[in-house]
Amino acid sequence: MSRDIAVVAFVQTKHTAEDAGLTEPELLAPVIAEIKERTGIDRFGFTCSGSCDYLEGKPFAFVSALDPVGAWPPISESHVEMDAAWALYEAYVRLLHDDIDTALVYGFGKSSQTDVRKVMTFQLDPYYLAPLGPDQVSLAALQARAYLERAGAKEDDLRAVAARSRAAGRENPYALHLEDPDPSAGYEVAPLRPYDVAPITDGAAAIVLAAGDKARELCERPAWITGIDHRADPHSPGARDLSRSESARIAGERAGAAGVEVAELHAQFSHEELILREALKLGEDVLVNPSGGALSANPVMAAGLIRIGEAAARIHDGSAGKVLGHASSGPCLQQNLVCVMEGEPRG
């Protein structure tokens, strides 16, 4: 099955480190309004969203997020309880069916309403892991140690990632503008220091996918998806080599990551970028996270989709010919999605 599908529009909020006093639908509404205006489309062939009900603490919380979309008469709609990058994957697959031309994808998350580090404990195996209460940062720190010891990298290498990400983030009007890392900062959970951990962020983002001529009609320079793949490692952190990301490696190879000029990596911790660069075989010549990445703004459930949007924007503005957007999910980079986009379709 083959059909040329492209990212034709990308919109995100100006992300905030604190609760801006908006509900999730209120956070999302301007983003949906803007992407409808920009594409001139009010009704999409398919709509798919990514969010996490645990962030709000209400079952089916994602349903109310349809209000700003407008779902009457009934629309064709779906939702994933994951980062919206996986909603984009579902929309991509839906478009391959050839009977629709456009899809709206969005993700949103307010981290400010609860303790996200603890929310992430709910995603763990309920028999062996969750009952011990390991939080997200404690688990990430296990992976950081495994990587540092295997690769011979130093904590300074982690700080360099944070420093570069924050400097880039300060140039990005949508990211949080964070100070340079303070080298005297103590450990959050050793070996990770506060700047190695993505900031608590509220925000939302939306992407419109379109196929074939519809994409050319909606966008001067569509970001054609020439490869997209997602893979998962075993869930138990003790059943795999934490110092590497085998799932990212396979997803990258299958999506055709070789030769990208820009990579937007969904690294929520400094060491994750180093692991992902290695797994995706990104050389020194690849521009990584020019947006500042998740270390500069991490609206959960949207941050992975934003990586695809930021990468696509480099195609839209003509500054790159081949780019990569990456999203991750689960503890310690358990699951990885790689989306490769180019200025020309596969042909």
Binding site: D115, P131, L132, A141, A146, E149, P237, G238, A239
Partner: protein, 309 residues
């Protein structure tokens, strides 16, 4: 994170889950104080066991293997400020622990003893550390039947003490009499002419008795020194410097502390002077001199002290 929530999600009493035959067997053995793994078709032993081989997705065999209880730390993170949901309320490590005989690792808390909140990772905490479970007395078939892991015993401390009554002896006794009066005394050797401070009543070089008493100055020159990082009750702070000091008029350097200068600025050839305690505190003891301090004189060229080093 809200400091006082206005909305709470909870299953009062906890959410009930069935565990199935594989996890159930593991938890049942755990309740009996045994750590068991299950063998995969490929021969690997999974701990904690799953119904499937994570490498292939195939069902595991029904062969069970007792593992551990000792294991090896594969990786760790250090929690200096435990959270309320953490298993320990004082700083501890999370660790992936591979029990002896297993091919996969188990996540658990690792208790490294008593550390104050905010403590840095203890030095003995390393990948490769050998650890063992600490079992709860009352077990229910739950992963927390193991309260935590603890390092294997590799060291003990044995109380050691013996009491003595020591005398200074004749020559040193005389030396300390001098010290009690603020004087530093030595003997001149009748053979080699060296002035020995403190005197021993004999010249160790010539093997002859010495009796000629000489008073030397309380100023001198550092001939060599060491920077000490282990605290000592006599030293003002760590690091401190112990040095050989060749007192003016003496031919044998004397071991003393050097203070009043950062440790990394002490040098061979530096001129120093004794810092005496207040006179009313003097007794027949070297403690009368707290340490030696630098004085404002040019360093002595190495050439002139090389024979005393």
């Amino acid at each position: 994170m809200p400091s006082s929530p206005n909305h709470v999600l909870e299953f009062p009493g906890g959410y009930t889950r069935s565990v199935g035959p594989v996890i159930g067997r593991f938890l049942t053995e755990l309740r009996d104080g045994r750590l068991m793994g299950v063998r995969t078709a490929g021969g690997r032993v999974l701990v904690p066991p799953t119904e499937y081989d994570p490498a292939t997705g195939e069902a595991v065999t029904d062969e069970w293997v007792e593992v551990g209880p000792s294991g090896t730390v594969q990786t760790w993170s250090w929690v200096a400020h435990p959270r309320p949901e953490h298993p320990l309320d004082r700083p501890f490590a999370w660790a992936l622990i591979k029990p002896d005989g297993a091919d996969t690792a188990l996540l658990h808390a690792l208790d490294m003893g008593v550390h104050e909140a905010g403590a840095k990772p203890p030095r003995q905490l390393k990948t490769g550390l050998r650890v063992r479970p600490k079992w709860r007395a009352e077990r229910s078939g739950h992963i927390s039947d193991i309260e935590c892991f603890r390092p294997e015993v590799t060291m003990i401390t044995a109380p050691t003490r013996q009491e003595y009554t020591l005398g200074a002896g004749r020559a040193l006794g005389r030396f300390l009499e001098g010290i009690a009066e603020g004087k530093i005394l030595g003997h001149r050797c009748p053979v080699c002419d060296s002035v020995i401070v403190p005197m021993k009543g004999m010249c160790a070089r010539d093997g002859v008795p010495t009796t000629e008493e000489v008073e030397v100055a309380d100023t001198g020159t550092v001939t060599t020194f060491a920077v000490n990082n282990i605290p000592d009750p006599r030293a003002p702070e760590v690091p401190f410097v112990s040095a050989y000091i060749l007192l003016d008029g003496a031919d044998i350097p004397m071991l003393a502390l050097v203070a009043g200068i950062p440790a990394d600025q002490v040098r061979i050839g530096m001129r120093v002077k004794a810092a005496w305690r207040p006179r009313e505190e003097w007794g027949p003891t070297m403690a009368n001199i707290k340490w030696f301090e630098p004085i404002d004189e040019p360093d002595v060229p190495f050439e002139r002290i090389k024979d005393y080093v």
